[in-house]
């Protein structure tokens, strides 16, 4: 069974204090690993897709990396507006486009 585990469950940072969020996964052949951001009362917003080990993608203060067993979302010099829940999801190579999500990391960045 495909599974995603995210850690930590919650993270509090000071503005400018860089850190990383972890996503460990087991999947029967990885088609893609997805990162989403979710604000309270909103649906998840797409950030990145990673397809193979060693791949990296960046967007503003965020950088996502992928290994064969886990992905990291690095946040460099965060700002309060980066506060949100960050969700990781995997898509298996077989079957349809279904995403299996982790429970997310709630990030709070204080000014």
């Amino acid at each position: 069974e495909d599974q995603v585990t995210q850690s930590p469950e919650a993270l509090r940072l000071q503005e400018g204090e860089s850190s990383s969020l972890n996503c460990s996964y087991t999947v029967s052949g990885l088609r893609g690993l997805f990162w989403y951001r979710q604000d309270p009362g909103k649906g998840p917003e797409f950030l990145f897709t990673l397809y193979s080990a060693g791949e990296e993608k960046e967007k503003e203060r965020l950088k996502a990396t992928l290994t064969k067993k886990e992905s990291f979302l690095h946040i460099t010099a965060p700002k309060p507006e980066d506060s949100a829940t960050y969700l990781c999801a995997v898509q298996a190579a077989t079957g349809f486009q279904k995403l299996v999500f982790g429970t997310g990391t709630r990030l709070l960045v204080s000014p």
């Binding site: 088609r31 998840p44 397809y51 999801a89 486009q97 279904k98 995403l99 982790g102 429970t103």
Partner: protein, 114 residues
């Protein structure tokens, strides 16, 4: 352009009532998904449509849950005889047909069963 639209945004139902939740996907998106998200949890897959065909309904928790997409565009998720454990946010997502296109989510319908 317009994103995925869901209605209503909030729904309060008394236990035992039937509810219908609507999803308008992004125009041209072939794939449509329904997810259920409990408080503090990640979204959990319910069902998947490719055009009007329901190709995977393995996540529907019971036979009280039913989804349709008769013309391959708008979809409706129906829950019969609602129970308190059905209280959650129901998210709809759509994507292009290609295998690893990202899913684009609506803002969900928050269902509260009293």
């Amino acid at each position: 352009g317009a994103g995925v639209s869901q209605s209503p945004r909030y729904k309060v139902a008394k236990r035992g009532q039937d509810v219908a939740l609507r999803c308008d996907p992004i125009s041209g998106h072939v794939s449509l998904f329904w997810y259920q998200q409990a408080l503090g949890q990640g979204p959990e897959f319910l069902t998947y449509f490719q055009n009007e065909a329901q190709l995977d309904k393995s996540g529907l928790p019971s036979d009280r849950f039913f989804a349709e997409r008769p013309e391959g565009s708008v979809s409706t998720l129906k829950i019969q005889r609602t129970q308190q454990e059905d209280s959650a946010v129901y998210l709809c997502a759509s994507s292009l047909a290609s295998g690893n296109s990202p899913l684009h989510f609506g803002n969900g319908t928050r269902l509260t069963v009293t």
